[in-house]
C-alpha cells in the first residue's frame, strides 16, 4: 500500500476531518477521488451490496486497472466514476469536480467533455462509417460534423486506420474495431478514459497491440485511464492495479518493475 494509492483496504469509513485534510493535499495530482462509496442493488435474492464504502484515488496521467472476480463491484465502480450511475452514499471528485452535485445538464456536459469510453463490445454505430463513429463525441460536444470529421481523421491516422475512415465498422476485424473505439474515446481529448474489458474480445497479440497503442496515446496527452479487466496478460501495462473483492478494494500493486519498456 502506498501513499499515492491512498486506498483503505476494506473501504473502512474515516472521520471527515481526516479525509478532508488528505483530500486537499493530494488534489492537484489526483484525477479521481472517491470516498466511502456505497451502492446496493435489489435482486430476487435480496439486496446485493455492490460497493461497501470504497475509497479510491487515481493519479492524473496514470493507467489504473481494476481487477477482481465477477460480481466484485468493478463495473459498478467505473459506472459511478464515469458519472452514469449514482452512488447510494459517499462522493466522487472527478478532475476536481464533484459531479453528483451538478445539475443533470451540467453532468452530461461534463461527461461529454472530459470522459472517453472504451467498451468490451466496441459499441460502434453500425450504420455510420468509421470516421463518423470517431467524430460522434465531438458532435455531442457541439462541433459541426465537418470539423469533427477532420479531427476524427487525424486520430484515426494516429491509430493506423486512416485508410478505413469511410468503411463501415462491420467490415473491420475485432482489433481494428477496438482501435476505432480508442480513437473515438480520445478524439475529443478527454482527461479521463474509462475502459471496460477492452481486450477480452480480442486475441492475445491484438490485445497487446491495443494496450500498447492506448498507453502510447494517453502518455502523449497525459490522459488518466481507468480499466476494468480480467485479462492478466495486460497487467504489465498498468501503473497501478487495484484488486477488488466483495465490494471492497483489497489491495494495490504498483507494477513499475513489470512494466514493459515503452
Amino acid at each position: 500500500m502506498t501513499a499515492s494509492a491512498a486506498v483503505a483496504p476494506g473501504g473502512a469509513p474515516k472521520a471527515d476531518g481526516e479525509r478532508n485534510a488528505r483530500d486537499g493535499a493530494a488534489e492537484g495530482a489526483i484525477a479521481v477521488r472517491c470516498r466511502d462509496l456505497a451502492k446496493s442493488f435489489a435482486s430476487a435474492a435480496g439486496t446485493v451490496r455492490a460497493l461497501r464504502g470504497i475509497d479510491l484515488d487515481v493519479p492524473r496521467g496514470s493507467i489504473t486497472m481494476l481487477v477482481g472476480p465477477s460480481g466484485c463491484g468493478k463495473t459498478t465502480l467505473i459506472s459511478i466514476v464515469a458519472g452514469i450511475l449514482a452512488a447510494d452514499s459517499g462522493h466522487c471528485i472527478i478532475l476536481g469536480t464533484e459531479v453528483s452535485t451538478l445539475s443533470t445538464g451540467r453532468q452530461l456536459a461534463f461527461r461529454a467533455k472530459n470522459i472517453g469510453f472504451i467498451f468490451q463490445q466496441f459499441h460502434l454505430l453500425p450504420t455510420l462509417t468509421v470516421g463518423e463513429n470517431v467524430a460522434v463525441p465531438r458532435v455531442i460536444n457541439g462541433e459541426t460534423r465537418t470539423a469533427a470529421g477532420i479531427a476524427a481523421a487525424a486520430v484515426l491516422a494516429r491509430v493506423g486506420l486512416a485508410h478505413r475512415v469511410d468503411d463501415a465498422p462491420g467490415v473491420l476485424s475485432g482489433g481494428e474495431q477496438q482501435r476505432v473505439a480508442i480513437a473515438r474515446a480520445l478524439v475529443h481529448a478527454p482527461a479521463l478514459v474509462v475502459c471496460d474489458e477492452p481486450t477480452s474480445a480480442l486475441d492475445h497479440d491484438t490485445g497487446q497491440h491495443i494496450l500498447e497503442l492506448l498507453r502510447q496515446m494517453v502518455r502523449e496527452r497525459g490522459t488518466t485511464v481507468l480499466i476494468v479487466t480480467h485479462d492478466n496478460r495486460i497487467f504489465p501495462f498498468a501503473d497501478r492495479i487495484l484488486r477488488m473483492d466483495d465490494g471492497r478494494i483489497t489491495g494495490i500493486e504498483v507494477a513499475v518493475a513489470e512494466r514493459p519498456a515503452p
Binding site: T75, I78, S79, A82, I84, L85, T104, G105, L108, A109, F110, R111, A112, K113, I115, F117, F119, Q120, Q121, H123, L125, P126, T127, L128, E132, V136, P137, V139, I140, N141, R145, D196, E197, S200, V228
Partner: protein, 384 residues
Amino acid sequence: MMAIALQMMFGDRGKFFGMVIGITFAALIMTQQPSIFLGLITRTYAAIQDVTLPDIWVMDPGVQYIEESKPMRDTDLIRVRGVTGVAWAVPHFKSIINARLPDGSTKAVNLTGLDDATLVGGPPRMLEGSLADLRRADGVIFDRDAAEERLRWRGQDGRERPLAVGDEIEINDRRAVVVGIGEASRDFVLVPKAFTTYSRAVTYAPPQRRQLTYILVEARPGVDPPELARRIQADTGLRALTGADFEAETLRYWLENTGIPINFGISVTLGFLVGTAVAGQSFFNFVRENLSHYAVLKAMGLGSGTLVRMVLVQAFVVGAIGYGIGVGIAAVFGTLVTDSVLSFYMPLQLLAFSGVGVLLIVTLSALLGVRQVLQLDPVVVFRS
C-alpha cells in the same frame, strides 16, 4: 445529432423499409378508399350539378333524392311562376323508362325531359350534334357512356356497335331518333342517360295523371335564392331547395340508407390499424435493437432530450416518406381511373385527413420508442 439519427435509421434498411411499407400502406388505404368513397357519393348528386343554370329545384314534398320521381300537377308550374322574386321557372322531367334498341333488346334508360323553349338542364357538353337538335322530330340525345357501353347493340352482321347519331330506337314503344351524343357526369345509379324535350318526354312516359317531376327556378337579380326557396315553399306547399341544399339532401339520403359509409369506414379503420401495427412494431423493434447504441450516446453525454428528439425525427421522417409514397400511389391510381367507371375524388381536405391518420400512427410509434429511450439506463453499455 439529428443527421446521425437519420443515418442510423436509413442504414438499417430492413427496419426502415418495414416502417415505410407500413405507413405507405396505411396512407394509401386512408387516402384511396375515402377518395373512392367521395367519388361515389359525389356521383349521387352529379345530375344536380350538371344542371347549372337554375338557382332552385322545386319538387313534391316527399322527394328525398334526385332519382326519386314523385310528380307534381302541371298547374304547380304556374303557381311557382307566380311567386314574387321568381325570374323564370321551367318544367323538368325525370323518369326511368324502358327503351328497345335497334337489335330488339331492351334496356332501362334514365330519361330527362328539358323545357322545350330553353332546353335548360341538358348534358353539360355535346360531343356530336347540338342541344337544339332535340327540336327535330323524335330527337333524343344520349350520354356518351350510355351510347358506347351500356346501350351497345348487335347489327345484322353480328357485330356489336355503339348507339350512334341516326340510330332509331323505341322508348316505351314510341319511335325515337338519336340526334346527338353528349357527356354528362357519371351518376350513382348507372342507368344510361337520355335527354329529350319535356313535351316529348311525357309522351314517352307511361300515362299518368301527373308528369311534372321538377320545376327549375331562377331568382330575380338581387333576390336571395335560399330566401326565395323558403317563400316558394310557404306559398305553394311544395318543397323548394337551392341546388346546394338539394345536393346535400340527396347525399344524406344515400349515406343514411346504404351501408356505403360503414363499409368504407371499416376499410379506412383497417388500413389505420394495420398501418399502426406494422409501422409501430417495426419502429418499436428498430428502437429496441438500437438501445445499446442510444445507451452509448447517453453514456457519452448525450441528454435524454436530444435522444427523444432523435427518435421523434426518425419517426416523423419515416412517416413523411411513407405518407408521401402512399398519397402518391393513391394519386397515380386516381389519375389512372380518371374518365372510367371507377369513381375517385381526392380533395385537399382528404389529404389532411390521411395526414392526420399517419401523424397519429407515427406519434404512437414514436411514443413506444421514446418510452424505451427514456427508460434506458446507460449503465447497460458496461454489460457484455
